[in-house]
């Protein structure tokens, strides 16, 4: 699974080189570019407030504003498989029609996405200043205009779940209802006659609304192409490094629900790491270490998601380890993916049984069929992998994990 780094909080639009270098040092080769962040009119002295300052008076300036970032990416061999636009205005201080301006801006952003070789363009639905009854009609027009531009360019437009501000309380907004969202996507695809539209699930947004991500994902199914990994405390909008918003010695986001959902649809799309707020508070001197950690975290999530796909991949499998992880495997997967046997380095367990499985000596692995995978059911993955390599075993080796088992309705040994 491909993992992208968001430039938010890391790359300064006017002086992008240090940020881009940090992303490269952090081990990423792909980024997602938030085009709307650059859609600023730098002559902001004429505006009274920050909201007004973010007026997009000249969509055609966009490319010029993005040039320093794009040049820095080219220089450091960073590719941009995805871009993001979220154009919302709380006020208009021009006489133009708000929706027309936003559509023009969206169109300009779509052209840029084509130019820089994006495969995905996340486009948040328009909501601010639009009456509830008109929401779908205006967004259908918006997305149709964008579809017209990208239709011959192998780009998929991804809708994204939103919050709505109710007296300072962020509640479920557009594309937060899974059934409605599926209807929108299917209707847009039907209108253009092909699958130009999909979905990006923003985990941070789901968390702000305490939403059951598993149910959301299972309903979206194949329409889900990308997942934005970001954390927050569930109450206030922020983008933190995943697993860092905690309380009572536990995460405040339901990562289990995300992983279960993605497993349920055999997700093999893209992950984006978005940690703008965490990145901003880190000194630039150590930011590349943070970025490296964010990549490791995303890889861990991707690995957890792929566990069942990897189990399905092999016709035969054996386990290595006869402890609690083996027991977890047998409880949750033993029936569907029965192993031939398990083995363990503990001699006293040889020729005994663990959850109905024969426990053998590791030497027995030399006799298993060629297509049989060895699933390591023990956290000493690296050591066991080395042991297997030293034994000159050529079978596929996979790491199993009991950290997100699909059921916990059993007791440990």
């Amino acid at each position: 699974m491909q993992i992208l780094c968001s430039t938010d909080g890391i790359v300064n639009g006017e002086f992008p080189k240090p940020g881009i270098r940090n992303i490269v040092k952090g081990g990423f080769s792909d980024i997602i570019l938030n085009i709307s962040k650059y859609a600023l009119d730098y002559d902001y002295s004429k505006y009274k407030s920050w909201q007004e300052y973010r007026i997009y008076s000249d969509p055609q300036k966009l490319k010029k504003l993005l040039k320093p970032v794009l040049d820095a990416c080219i220089k450091d061999n960073l590719s941009t498989p995805a871009a993001y636009i979220n154009f919302q205005l709380s006020k208009m201080n021009t006489e133009d029609n708000l929706t027309d301006t936003l559509i023009k801006l969206g169109e300009e952003a779509a052209k840029i996405a084509i130019d820089i070789g994006c495969k995905y363009l996340i486009v948040s639905p328009l909501s601010v200043g639009i009456a509830g009854a008109d929401t779908w009609a205006i967004n259908r027009q918006y997305y149709s205009c964008l579809a017209e531009i990208i239709k011959d360019h192998q780009i998929t437009i991804l809708l994204e779940n939103q919050t709505k501000n109710l007296g300072g309380h962020l509640v479920r907004g557009l594309c937060s209802d899974e059934v409605d969202t599926v209807k929108w996507i299917d209707s847009l695809n039907e209108a253009v006659g092909k699958d130009l539209f999909g979905f990006n699930l923003d985990v941070g947004t789901c968390n702000l609304c305490g939403q059951d991500m598993q149910e959301f994902i299972l309903t979206l199914g194949h329409r889900l192409k990308m997942v934005t990994l970001r954390d927050n405390d569930g109450n206030q909008e922020s983008s933190m490094l995943p697993f860092t918003a905690v309380g009572e010695r536990s995460p405040r986001a339901n990562w289990q629900s995300l992983i279960y959902g993605l497993r349920g649809i055999d997700f093999d799309g893209l992950f984006v790491v978005q940690m703008e707020d965490t990145a901003i508070v880190f000194s630039t001197l150590i930011r590349s270490e943070l970025i490296r950690l964010s990549k490791t975290i995303a890889e861990y999530i991707a690995w957890q998601v792929s566990i069942e796909t990897r189990l399905k991949k092999y016709k035969n499998r054996v386990l290595f380890g006869a402890g609690n992880m083996c027991r977890g495997y047998m409880e949750c997967y033993g029936r569907e993916y029965p192993p031939l046997f398990t083995c363990d380095n503990n001699k006293s367990l040889w020729n005994t049984e663990c959850c109905g499985l024969k426990v053998k000596a590791p030497e027995e692995l030399k006799n298993i069929p060629e297509d049989c995978a060895i699933f390591i059911c023990n956290i000493y993955y690296a050591e066991i992998e080395k042991q297997l390599h030293d034994m000159d075993i050529k079978n596929p080796i996979e790491r199993f994990s009991d950290e997100y088992l699909p059921s916990y309705h059993f007791n440990e040994i």
Binding site: D212, Q214, Y260
Partner: protein
């Protein structure tokens, strides 16, 4: 005009229930939501602790609640709905304790409900997704529980109402059981069809919905006529505070941070004719005794406001 109800918790004293029922009546309420769950708290259930009250025989229980029944009648108050203790299943408990909950506590709750001539009882679905992996598996446990109650519900003419509830992770309140209105509607219809009686309905809880940022209007509209009863209360969107509606804002503009407009629209959409019931027991603890009655008056006035808004042409 829709009827207005309020929770009995912190309003009714078991030693002299007539005082509380009179106060509720005088504040302008028509009905009560009898807080049966306060006799066996969820904290005790999580500690596998049995209840003295539920250990009584049915004859003793009827004797225990007879003064409440007569005091309510004398004050002109009806017991419109009540709340069964919860949860009725604990993953950490042994079979004997879970049997005690489902066979003894649940059975006696329904019998008390019938004794107080109450038509609706709120039950909590089981929050077990974390253990069982999927919401469907979780619901199966809840449905098995409802199946156990169904014959008694049918016989007594009581409708059990599942409620949108939350779960918690790291102190953050997230979706729990029965937070999908479309699924709830399908399940209610299927079970009522199975038992050929209205054994199951829905209780919409505004406070829990607010904690989860649910779309009130959409949720209520999707429920339609399966919506039988209400738990109306407010909070800051963070903690389950059970406070008076319209009292929370999270911005300096001080606009309400709870979707009361959506609530009114939803009830209007489904032609709600039930009781506007306030689950605001904790409010009575936060006001001084001298202002308890004023607090109840205010809640009743809000009920009348809701009623006017919901029923106006």
């Amino acid at each position: 005009m829709l009827k207005i109800g309020v929770q009995t918790q912190n309003a009714i004293d078991d030693n002299c229930p007539e005082v509380g029922f009179n106060m509720i009546h005088n504040a302008g309420f028509d009905c009560v939501d009898f807080s049966l769950h306060s006799y066996l708290s969820n904290t005790d259930i999580y500690r596998n602790k049995c209840s003295e009250l539920f250990d009584k025989s049915m004859a003793d229980l009827e004797r225990y609640f007879a003064p409440h029944k007569s005091a309510a009648k004398a004050a002109g108050i009806t017991v419109h709905q009540m709340h069964m203790p919860y949860p009725m299943y604990s993953m950490e408990a042994d079979k004997a304790f879970n049997d005690y909950l489902s066979k003894n506590v649940a059975y006696k709750s329904l019998a008390i409900c019938a004794f107080l001539e109450c038509r609706y009882i709120v039950i909590h679905g089981f929050n077990l997704t974390r253990y069982l992996g999927t919401e469907e598996n979780e619901w199966q446990y809840t449905e098995n529980f409802i199946d156990k109650l169904a014959p008694q519900l049918k016989e007594l003419g009581i409708t059990a109402c599942i409620e949108n509830i939350y779960s918690s992770i790291g102190g953050h309140l997230i979706e729990g059981s029965c937070c999908n209105a479309r699924k709830a509607a399908e399940r209610i219809d299927r079970l009522n069809d199975k038992y050929q009686a209205e054994i199951l309905g829905f209780c919409f809880d505004t406070g829990h919905a607010n904690l989860l940022g649910l779309d009130f209007e959409r949720f209520i509209t999707d429920l339609g006529d399966r919506l039988k009863i209400l738990h109306i209360h407010d909070n800051d969107g963070i903690r389950d505070l059970h406070q008076i509606p319209f009292t929370f804002s999270r911005s300096r503009e001080n606009c309400t941070s709870t979707d009361w407009t959506g609530f009114i629209k939803g009830l209007r959409n489904v032609g709600f004719e039930g009781v506007l019931n306030f689950e605001t027991g904790p409010v009575l603890n936060s006001f001084p005794i001298e202002l308890k009655r004023d607090a109840l008056d205010m809640i009743a006035k809000i009920g009348k406001y809701f009623s006017n808004e919901i029923t106006k042409e």
